[in-house]
C-alpha cells in the first residue's frame, strides 16, 4: 500500500498492544448509521501511471503560447538555483517554525525575506507573507481601519480589479464603506482621489504602476492622507520597484505587492505571494507571522516568531487576522531569487522589460487605427486602443497561439477596444514583430 510501511506482523503486534483485534474496532465511536454512503473513487494507480495521468493533463494545455498577458502576473526568468534550493526537503517538508531551535533555517530565511522586502520598498517592517496581492490589499485595508479607527476606504479604480473584487468579497460582512474613484483615461485621477479623502477616511488605496501600466507620483496623495488623519496603501510591482520611486519615498504607511514576479512561475494563478510591509508605527497592526532576531541562553544570535500576541492562536477572536499558513516557501523562493539577481540583476530585469514594452508600443501604434490609450509614462505594461473590440482581436490571434494582451472590458465598461499589453525580459524583438504582424491582419 503506498506510503504505509506496516507489515502484517507490525499491524498485528500494534493492534495487540492497543488491545483490539481489528482496525475496525478503532472506529467504533462512529455509529453505524453514520458510515459513508459511498466512497467510489477510482482505483489507485502506480507511481508511473499517476505521473503519466498528470502529464497527460498538462499536455492537454496548448503550450508555447506567445503571450503578452500581464495584469498582475508576469512571465519573468526564474534562475534554476531557485528551484534547486527550495526543493530541499529541509525547507519544503518543515512546518511553521513553532520550535525555533529546530527551525533556524526557515526563521532566518523569513528574516532575510523581510529584509529584502523592506529594502526594495523602503519600509520599516514586513511580515512573512500573506496569500497573494489581493489578500495583501484586504489585510492592508483592515490594518488601516484598525489603526485609523475609521471605516471609509477610498479605492482607486486603477487598483487591479481582481483585487478590488476580493476586497469587496472579503470585507462584505465587516463594517466598512468602500468608495471607488474612477480612473481618468487609464490613469489615476489624483484630484478626485485627494478630494475623496475626508475626515472619516481610514485609508486611500492605490497601485503604482496602475492596472493600465501607468506610473505616477503618489507622494502628494500620501501627504494629503496624512493631513486628514487617514492611512495610505500602495500596491507595487516588485520587479519595477528596483527603479521606481518607492512607497517609502512617497510617504505611504503600508506597501503591498504580489511577489509572483520575483521567483514564481505563472502556474495558472498560484501559488503566488502576498508581500506586506509597513511603517514602524503600524507593526502591531500587521497580520500573520513575523520573524525577529534575538539571542539564545549563551548569547548566540538566533531567530524566533515574534509579536505573536497579534495572532489567532493566542488572541483567537481578537486577533489581527485569521491567517495561519501563509506562502512561506514562495517567500523563500523570492528572497533566493532576489539574492541571485542582486540589485544589478533586478534593475536589468526591469529596464529590459520596460524597453521591450516601448518597442511593442512602437510596433503596435504603427498599425492603422491603433493608438496609445494615453500619453502617460508607463513601466513594462501599457494600454492601446484598437479599431475594433479587443475581445475579437484576441480571439482571432489565439487561433495562432498568440495572446497579444488582455482585453480589459470585463472589468472596465466603455473600454471595449482597449488591450492591455505586458512585456518582460523574456520578450524578444522577433516576438514583437510576430505579434504585431498577426494583429495587423486581424484588425
Amino acid at each position: 500500500m503506498p506510503f504505509i510501511p506496516h507489515t502484517p506482523e507490525d499491524t498485528g503486534a500494534m493492534l495487540k498492544a492497543v488491545g483490539v483485534r481489528h482496525l475496525d474496532e478503532l472506529f467504533a465511536a462512529i455509529p453505524d448509521d453514520m458510515r459513508p454512503k459511498s466512497f467510489a473513487l477510482p482505483e489507485g494507480l502506480s507511481e508511473y501511471d499517476a505521473a503519466a495521468r498528470m502529464h497527460e493533463l498538462a499536455h492537454r494545455n496548448a503550450g508555447h503560447v506567445l503571450s503578452f498577458m500581464g495584469a498582475g502576473a508576469y512571465d519573468h526568468i526564474v534562475p534554476a538555483a531557485v528551484d534547486a534550493l527550495t526543493a530541499r526537503g529541509e525547507f519544503y517538508t518543515a512546518y511553521t517554525p513553532y520550535q525555533p531551535e529546530a527551525s533556524q533555517g526557515t526563521l532566518q530565511g523569513i528574516f532575510e525575506y523581510q529584509t529584502a522586502v523592506c529594502r526594495l520598498l523602503d519600509m520599516d517592517a514586513a511580515n512573512a507573507s500573506v496569500y497573494d496581492g489581493g489578500s495583501a490589499v484586504f489585510e492592508a485595508a483592515m490594518m488601516c481601519v484598525r489603526a485609523a479607527k475609521k471605516r471609509r476606504l477610498v479605492v482607486d479604480e486603477c487598483l487591479n480589479p481582481l483585487y478590488r473584487a476580493m476586497l469587496h468579497t472579503l470585507a462584505a460582512n465587516v463594517d466598512v464603506v468602500i468608495v471607488t474613484v474612477p480612473h481618468a483615461g487609464g490613469a489615476s485621477d489624483m484630484d478626485t482621489l485627494a478630494a475623496a479623502i475626508g475626515g472619516d477616511c481610514a485609508a486611500v488605496i492605490v497601485q503604482n504602476p496602475g492596472f493600465f501600466g501607468v506610473v505616477q507620483d503618489f507622494a502628494p496623495l500620501a501627504d494629503k492622507a496624512r493631513a486628514a488623519g487617514a492611512k495610505s496603501v500602495m500596491l507595487v510591482n516588485p520587479v519595477l520597484q528596483s527603479v521606481l520611486k518607492t512607497p517609502g519615498e512617497s510617504g505611504f504607511d503600508v506597501a503591498v505587492a504580489d511577489g509572483q514576479s520575483v521567483g514564481m512561475a505563472l502556474s495558472f494563478g498560484g501559488p503566488y505571494l502576498g508581500m506586506m510591509a509597513c511603517a514602524k508605527d503600524m507593526v502591531r497592526q500587521m497580520p500573520g507571522r513575523i520573524a525577529g532576531r534575538t539571542k539564545d541562553l549563551d548569547g548566540k544570535t538566533g531567530y524566533v516568531l515574534t509579536l505573536q500576541a497579534r495572532e489567532q492562536h493566542i488572541r483567537r477572536a481578537k486577533a489581527t487576522s485569521n491567517i495561519c499558513s501563509n506562502q512561506a516557501l514562495c517567500a523563500m523562493r523570492s528572497v533566493i531569487h532576489l539574492s541571485l539577481l542582486g540589485p544589478e540583476g533586478l534593475i536589468r530585469t526591469a529596464e529590459l522589460s520596460m524597453q521591450r514594452a516601448r518597442e511593442s508600443a512602437e510596433a503596435l501604434t504603427k498599425l492603422p487605427g491603433v493608438s496609445m490609450l494615453n500619453d502617460a509614462p508607463y513601466g513594462n505594461e501599457f494600454a492601446v486602443t484598437l479599431p475594433k473590440p479587443a475581445r475579437q482581436a484576441v480571439a482571432a490571434l489565439l487561433k495562432e497561439k498568440i495572446a497579444p494582451g488582455l482585453p480589459v472590458c470585463r472589468w472596465y465598461k466603455g473600454l471595449e477596444n482597449v488591450l492591455l499589453v505586458a512585456c518582460t525580459e523574456k520578450t524578444r524583438p522577433a516576438h514583437i514583430r510576430r505579434m504585431a504582424q498577426a494583429l495587423s491582419s486581424a484588425l
Binding site: R53, R88, T246, G302, R315, L329, S339
Partner: protein
C-alpha cells in the same frame, strides 16, 4: 550564521539577464524614479547556493526527522507528486488566458485538473460541490463563513453569532470575528461538545457552529446527531473544520451526516508539503443549498465534454482569490489521490489511527492521559505529573528536539493543562514509533532524577533556548544597512 545581506560584496554579481540599451532614466522622468539602488545582496550564484543550503540544514523536516506535531499532520510527502506538477503545461499558463474568448480551448488540461480535483474531493467528503479558490485552511474558513452569511442574507435571516467550542483551533473564532460575527464560546464536557451547553446559547440569532471532528483532543464527537438536530431547529448551519479530516477518509463523509460547509487542508490530508508555513490549499465543499453562493468563476464540464468557466453567478459571494487558488499545490493533492485511490486513502486514515493508538498505548503510565480511551488520529497527554520537578511540556518538547525528533504540539488545546498533542501519521513505521517512545519515556524518567538536565535542552541544536521576550521588546525585524 551571517545573513545573506551581511555576506554581500559590492560589485559581485550572480545571475544576470541581458542589459537593456536604455536605462530607466532614459525611459521615465526623474521624479518617478527611486533615489538609489535597493541594497539587495551582491553575491555569486555559488555564494547564494551555499548560503541557503547551509541554512536549510538548520531545519528539521519530515524528510529527515519524525515530526509528530499534533493537528498538523506531518506525513511523508511523496517525491513523485513534486515531479508530477512541474510539467511546463501546468507551470507556464497565464491564469487569465482561460478567461478571454478563445482561451478556454488552450487551457483544457488545467480546467480539467481543477474539475477533476473538485469531483474527487466531493466523493471523499460527500459534499455536493467544491471551490478550489481558498489558498489555505484559514481562508477556507473565511470563505465558508461568508457562504453561511450569504445564505442567511438571501433567506432574510437576521443572524449575528457563530458558536465555537472551546477546543477549537484559534483560527475558528478569529475567522468568525473577521467575518463580522459575534463569537460565542461553549465549554466542552468530558472532551466533547456538550449538547446542553449548546442548547443554552442557541437561539434565532445563531448563524452557525464551527466544529472540528474528530476534535482537537483526537476524539470523535459523540453527540454529532443531536448537535445537527439542534442547529437545524434554528436554521443555523454546521461548519466542518477539516483540519482533522485525515482521520475520516473512508470512515465518515461529512456531507452524509448533515454538515453544510467543510474546508480541507490539503497539506494535511492529501500529502502536499507544508513548505515551512505554506503554501497550503484550503478548498471548501458545500451542501446543495449553498452552491449558488460559491465564489466564481467556476469550472464547468460542458455537454460536449469540454471544460469552461462560468462567470454568470448572480448569487456568488464574489472571489476570495484572484484566480483559481493555489493551483500548483492542489495539483499535488490530485496526484496523491490518483495514486492512492479509494483503498489507499482509507488505509491512510486507518493506519494514522492505528499509529496514534499505538503511541498512546506505549506512553500510558509515563504521561497523564486526560481522556484515556481509543483515540482517532491524534491524542493529548499532559506533563502535569512532572510539575513537582518543575519540568513542563515545553521542557519535554525541547528534550525531544535533542533526540532528533520534532516536538509534539504543546499547550494546545487550551483546555488541557501542560498539554502535549501527538500525531504520528500513517507513514511512520513501528520501529520509529518504538524508538520515539523509548526516548520520550527516558526523558520523563530523567525529569525525575535530573530535572535541570532536561530543562537545559536543547543542547545539540544550532542554538539553545531563545529569548522570545527580548525579541518582542527589541523588535529587530530586518538587517540594518
Amino acid at each position: 550564521m551571517k545573513t545573506v545581506f551581511a555576506k554581500s560584496v559590492p560589485g559581485r554579481t550572480g545571475v544576470l539577464p541581458p542589459k537593456a540599451d536604455k536605462t530607466a532614466r532614459d525611459m521615465l522622468p526623474q521624479n518617478l524614479l527611486r533615489a538609489r539602488r535597493p541594497a539587495l545582496p551582491e553575491l555569486s550564484e555559488l555564494d547564494v547556493v551555499r548560503h541557503y543550503s547551509r541554512l536549510s540544514r538548520l531545519n528539521y523536516g519530515v524528510d529527515a526527522n519524525f515530526y509528530p506535531l499534533g493537528s498538523c499532520t506531518m506525513k511523508y510527502n511523496p517525491k513523485f507528486i513534486e515531479a508530477a506538477v512541474n510539467y511546463r503545461g501546468f507551470t507556464d499558463t497565464h491564469p487569465l488566458l482561460a478567461q478571454v474568448d478563445g482561451g478556454e480551448a488552450l487551457t483544457q488540461g488545467n480546467l480539467e485538473a481543477i474539475w477533476l480535483t473538485e469531483q474527487l474531493l466531493q466523493e471523499v467528503t460527500g459534499m455536493r460541490a467544491f471551490t478550489m479558490q481558498p489558498m489555505a485552511g484559514a481562508q477556507g474558513e473565511l470563505t465558508g463563513i461568508l457562504l453561511i452569511a450569504a445564505y442567511h442574507r438571501a433567506k432574510g435571516n437576521k443572524k449575528s453569532k457563530i458558536i465555537c467550542p472551546d477546543a477549537a483551533h484559534g483560527t475558528n473564532p478569529a475567522t468568525a470575528a473577521l467575518a463580522g460575527y459575534e463569537v460565542v464560546n461553549i465549554v466542552s464536557k468530558d472532551g466533547m461538545v456538550d449538547p446542553e451547553a449548546l442548547a443554552a446559547v442557541l437561539d434565532d440569532s445563531v448563524a452557525g457552529l464551527m466544529m472540528t471532528c474528530p476534535n482537537t483532543l483526537g476524539l470523535f464527537e459523540q453527540h454529532l446527531p443531536e448537535i445537527v438536530r439542534l442547529l437545524r431547529s434554528v436554521d443555523a448551519l454546521l461548519y466542518y473544520d477539516g483540519a482533522n479530516f485525515n482521520a475520516c477518509m473512508g470512515r465518515l463523509r461529512v456531507g452524509d451526516v448533515g454538515f453544510d460547509v467543510v474546508h480541507l487542508n490539503l497539506h494535511k490530508t492529501m500529502g502536499t508539503p507544508h513548505g515551512g508555513g505554506g503554501p497550503g490549499s484550503g478548498p471548501v465543499g458545500v451542501s446543495e443549498r449553498l452552491i449558488p453562493f460559491l465564489p466564481g468563476p467556476r469550472v464547468v464540464k460542458k455537454a460536449d465534454g469540454r471544460f469552461g468557466l462560468n462567470h454568470d453567478l448572480p448569487q456568488s459571494i464574489g472571489r476570495v482569490a484572484p484566480f483559481y487558488g493555489n493551483f500548483g499545490v492542489y495539483l499535488k493533492a490530485l496526484a496523491y489521490i490518483l495514486r492512492c485511490g479509494a483503498e489507499g486513502l482509507s488505509r491512510a486514515t486507518d493506519y494514522a489511527v492505528l499509529n496514534a493508538n499505538y503511541l498512546l498505548a506505549r506512553l500510558r503510565g509515563h504521561l497523564d492521559i486526560p481522556y484515556d480511551r481509543i483515540c482517532m488520529h491524534e491524542f493529548v497527554a499532559s506533563a502535569s505529573k512532572l510539575g513537582e520537578y518543575d519540568v513542563h511540556a515545553l521542557d519535554l518538547a525541547k528534550a525531544l528536539l535533542d533526540k532528533g525528533y520534532h516536538a509534539p504540539t504543546i499547550y494546545f488545546p487550551l483546555i488541557v493543562k501542560e498539554c502535549l498533542m501527538f500525531e504520528p501519521t500513517e507513514t511512520e513505521s513501528k520501529e520509529m514509533l518504538d524508538a520515539f517512545c523509548d526516548d520520550l519515556i527516558a526523558i520523563c524518567e530523567r525529569a525525575r532524577t535530573d530535572p535541570a538536565g532536561v530543562k537545559a535542552a536543547p543542547v545539540t541544536l544550532p542554538v539553545r533556548r531563545l529569548d522570545e521576550t527580548a525579541a518582542a521588546r527589541n523588535m529587530i525585524l530586518t538587517e540594518v544597512e
